[in-house]
């Protein structure tokens, strides 16, 4: 356990010291995954179907605020959907606009959750999200996770119906519109997941705030088990008995990730190095405020216990120095 704490402290110290590089790098990796997910699965618009576009956009968005990066990512996805018709891209843009109007007006800093949720969905471990947000935030932030889930299922539905959307080139535009809207309004699986995620988020939030021992661990375990059971029952009731091994495996991995997350985040007093400038009547100040935890980090010290051996060596050194007529310090 001590080794784990040591590793944790080292990682935190590394992040604190190199925050200026670590933060954009993490953002870059997340955005790159999201952009590549769109590029490989939804690259319907030939004019922008070039691998350099997602690469350049992920580099550029890594240095801007996450809210703006999420908007650019959304527009890139909409541009790709335009290849299937204006209707599909339009429905997607309306979804984004709705989420901005109703939620992101209040919480612009939660944009990364909308990007992270579809990425984790793609990997098969979206069940991490409601538990992790319940642990670290209030139930309000679950809205970002729910929006990310809706975006993922919409895009998944569009991918599954690409043939119908491409074939209905000559058909009525309302057919395309209807197919696109169906992916949100008539997607039972999506609404099941959205409902369960919201419920789990609230449950985890309530349990981890209880004044009991190991509240965080209990919250993760209860959240993980209840989530798995609810989705399983929901799938069976709704007549969708597929993907169950993936669901069970994904839930187990998600709970494991949440335990690691809890270990890393719990009682973590994260303080970063601050660089500030100010002035008074006499001076200009350029201050670099370093958190005490970094300064106090001890370096390893080697202490020799075998004193007799060390003493003997010292005596030999002194004798040689006397013979050579030099200062014994020069021999060290």
């Amino acid at each position: 356990m001590d080794t784990l704490y040591e590793i944790k402290t080292r990682i935190i110290t590394f992040i604190e010291k190199n925050e200026i590089y670590v933060k954009p790098a993490a953002k870059f990796v997340l955005l790159l995954m999201a952009y590549l997910m769109i590029y490989f699965n939804l690259g319907y618009y030939a004019k922008i179907n070039n691998i350099f576009i997602p690469l350049i956009l992920s580099v550029a968005c890594a240095v801007v605020p996450m809210g703006l990066a999420a908007i650019v990512l959304g527009l890139y996805a909409a541009a790709n959907l335009y290849g299937l018709g204006l209707e599909t891209a339009g429905v997607f843009l309306v979804l984004l606009l709705l989420s901005y109007l109703l939620y992101f007006r209040f919480a612009r800093d939660k944009g990364f959750l909308v990007v992270l949720t579809p990425v984790l969905n793609m990997i098969g471990i979206p069940y991490t999200m409601p538990i992790a947000t319940g642990l670290t935030s209030n139930p309000g932030s679950s809205v970002s996770v729910l929006m990310g889930t809706i975006v993922f299922y919409f895009l998944k539905g569009i991918k599954a119906n690409e043939q119908a959307l491409l074939a209905s080139e000559d058909a009525l535009k309302t057919t395309k519109l209807h197919i696109a809207l169906e992916q949100v309004l008539a997607n039972k699986e999506m609404w099941l997941i959205v409902g369960v995620f919201f419920f789990i988020n609230v449950i985890v939030y309530i349990i981890r705030r209880l004044a009991i021992k190991e509240a965080w661990k209990i919250a993760i375990a209860v959240g993980g088990v209840v989530q798995l059971l609810l989705i399983l029952i929901g799938k069976l009731v709704l007549g969708m008995p597929y993907g169950i091994p993936g669901l069970i495996l994904g839930s187990i991995v998600s709970v494991a990730i949440c335990f690691v997350f809890q270990f890393c985040v719990f009682d973590l007093d994260y303080q970063r190095i601050e660089r500030v400038q100010f002035e008074d009547d006499n001076y200009y100040y350029y201050v670099r405020a370093v958190p005490k935890v970094l300064v106090a980090a001890k370096e390893k010290q080697v202490k020799t216990f075998n004193e007799t051996k060390a003493k003997r060596e010292e005596e030999v050194e002194r004798e040689i120095a006397r013979e050579l007529d030099i200062d014994p310090k020069n021999l060290k």
Binding site: L97, L102, R105, F106, L181, L185, F278, Y283, V287
Partner: protein, 125 residues
């Protein structure tokens, strides 16, 4: 001669201004009622736009059924439903806007109190 204590205090204040203060300090310029009213007004505009977007989505999705109702000259019933749902939606949404605004204002006032205290201490140094 640099006054170390003063530098320490000024650094803390500057760090606050650079981070949390960016959102908090502007809220301090408002009275509580003005801040919440502004939030509600913005909520009313965005909520109305969002409701009609949602209505448009529903109308397009329900296409045929809606046309049948319109053909049956059931205008009154449809308009009544649209207005009732608009009312319910806005009451819910504006309540959330009110609660969020109130919570933010109270939280900002709390941190601004200590900020102002620190500023006064700096002035007296």
């Amino acid at each position: 001669m640099v006054n170390e204590e003063k530098v320490r205090l000024m650094t803390k204040l500057a760090v606050f201004e650079e981070n949390k203060g960016k959102k908090t300090i502007p809220i301090g310029d408002y009275y509580r009622s003005d801040f919440i009213s502004k939030n509600l007004l913005l909520g009313f505009i965005t909520g109305t736009i969002a409701y009609f977007l949602l209505f448009a989505i529903w109308a397009v999705y329900q296409g045929e059924k809606l046309v049948q109702r319109l053909l049956a000259l059931d205008f009154g019933h449809i308009i009544f439903l649209v207005i009732v749902f608009y009312g319910i939606f806005m009451v819910l949404y504006l309540t959330i806007c009110y609660l969020v605004g109130d919570y933010r204002y109270r939280r900002s006032v709390k941190s601004l109190k200590s900020y102002k205290k620190a500023l006064k201490r700096l002035e007296n140094m």
